[in-house]
Amino acid sequence: MKPIRTLVLAALFPVVTAAAALAAMSPARQAIFDEYLSAARTAEARFEASTVRGETFFRGQHTGGKVDTPSCTSCHTSDLKKPGKSRAGKDIEPMAASVNSKRYTDAADVAKWLKRNCSDVLGRECTAPEKADVLAYLLSL
């Protein structure tokens, strides 16, 4: 039985850490995150957001989008506590929720950028679970 318990715990671990990180969220952020979570659960009934999947997605190399932006980090860089750079040469404010209190507080802005950037990086819209995972990851930073 032990290995199974460890496995279950290991699988739960990211969920738990995500939950812990998300626990301290401002009401505005919580509301936005909850919206994405429930959308994901509409798609997948048992969905739990995972910061690990979110990170893998955010840092991963994708195909289908534009050649010069194969990853979210193409513009946001790998240090999310530092500013990134837009293709048009402007600084992008840091993505980590902990260093940028303005992030993830305006639902329209979050939706707008997910729509634009998923199309730029993947050449398609992101799925509801992908969005919830990425948000969980960025909110945990």
Partner: protein, 375 residues
């Protein structure tokens, strides 16, 4: 070894000499900065112009109130007298003059007239093209551009006149065996029997002072007054805040005045394929921004930017930086500076133009940021 005072005749008083050499300096600066046509030198060019204006005003007043040889009456002769002098010169029988000879006198008048033309057209160019100064409320961009040609023509005329003036001085110095340049520096010439002195006149320094003060004061007050009038055709509102946020997210926000309503409409139609980026907006926001751009497009303004950037390039109709006007305005800018990280490409107008978001693009507000030093 001082010359015998009785053998000296005072000709150019201190004011005339100060005017002359001050003018030489100011005109040199104005011509040099003008022909270089560098944005950063415009301030100096305008300052030199103002100095020339002040010097001219003082000299004109002194020409009616000053010492004998400062008076216009002493050196401005009628055309028949002038032609008699030229004929005598050609025969080699012309007498030396204590002050300016008739040709010299006409040269002074031509120089002063040309300088006046340069001043008036200069202020009109500043007003029409840069929407600055006392003529800004009255001069359109088109007028300013036309007068710029005249301003340049007058500058070449001035160069030619200066050439003739210097030639005349050399010829006359050789002919009379007395250096006119030295005379203009120390103020006196040697007394000689064959030179006829002009009828002496008493200087009226108090009157000159009052007149000069009046002229300069009224010019100053008029300039200050007209410079403060509202200027039609120059944007005065700050950028719409939603526009500045949405269209300033990836690059500095463009002022609506730098492209026509038609160009903006095309930009807004293609936001999901915006120069390689997806810049799509929610329909209500997009509609609002499209209306804002249409209402404030180049057609509504009369600035250098609205006039010269409005005609889009056939090859790349949505790019302001592809317009012939943009290319021409930046032809002297080193191409590599646009690649600096601190600039981030041609698209970021406000990195270099401190007043880009006000739609002004005054050359005096240009500051190209240095490359950031990354440790």
């Amino acid at each position: 070894m001082r010359a015998d005072p009785n053998k000296r005749i005072p000709v150019w008083d201190r004011l005339v000499r100060t005017f002359h050499w001050g003018l030489v300096a100011a005109v040199t600066i104005a011509l040099a900065t003008g022909f270089l046509e560098t944005a950063s030198l415009l301030d100096l060019h305008v300052a030199a112009g103002v100095l020339i204006g002040v010097l001219l005003a003082l000299r004109v007043v002194w020409g009616f109130t000053g010492t004998t040889y400062a008076r216009f009456a002493s050196f401005v002769v009628s055309p028949p007298t002038l032609s008699r002098h030229v004929a005598a010169m050609l025969r080699g029988t012309a007498k030396p003059h204590v002050g300016h000879n008739p040709l010299g006198g006409w040269m002074i008048l031509s120089l002063m007239t040309t300088l006046t033309v340069l001043l008036v057209t200069g202020v009109a160019v500043l007003g029409g093209v840069l929407k600055d100064g006392p003529l800004a409320p009255f001069a359109s961009f088109a007028t300013g551009r036309q007068l710029k040609e005249l301003h340049e023509l007058a500058a070449f005329t001035l160069l030619a006149l200066i050439g003739l003036h210097v030639t005349g001085i050399v010829v006359e110095s050789l002919r009379t065996r007395e250096s006119l340049i030295v005379a203009m520096l120390r103020g006196w010439k040697h007394r000689r029997a064959d030179a006829e002195p002009a009828p002496p006149r008493q200087a009226m320094p108090a009157l000159a002072g009052i007149l000069s003060l009046l002229v300069l004061l009224s010019a100053g007050v008029a300039t200050a007054h007209f410079s403060r009038l509202p200027v039609a055709g120059l944007p005065s509102q700050p950028l719409d805040t939603v526009y500045a946020k949405e269209c300033g997210a990836c690059h500095s926000p463009h002022h609506p005045s730098i492209a026509t309503a038609a160009t903006w409409a095309s930009v807004m139609r293609g936001l999901d394929r915006h120069f390689g980026d997806n810049a799509s907006l929610d329909a209500p926001v997009a509609t609002r921004l499209a209306a804002y751009l249409a209402d404030n497009g180049a057609e509504h303004w009369d600035t250098q930017a609205s006039n010269r950037l409005a005609r889009s390039a056939a090859t790349d109709p949505l790019r302001i930086t592809a317009t012939d006007g943009w290319q021409r305005l930046h032809r002297h800018v080193d191409k590599t500076v646009f690649d600096r990280k601190s600039v981030g490409g041609r698209v970021n107008c406000s990195r270099c133009h401190g007043d880009a978001e006000a739609g002004r693009f005054d050359p005096r507000a240009i500051h190209i940021p240095e490359e950031k030093q990354t440790p």
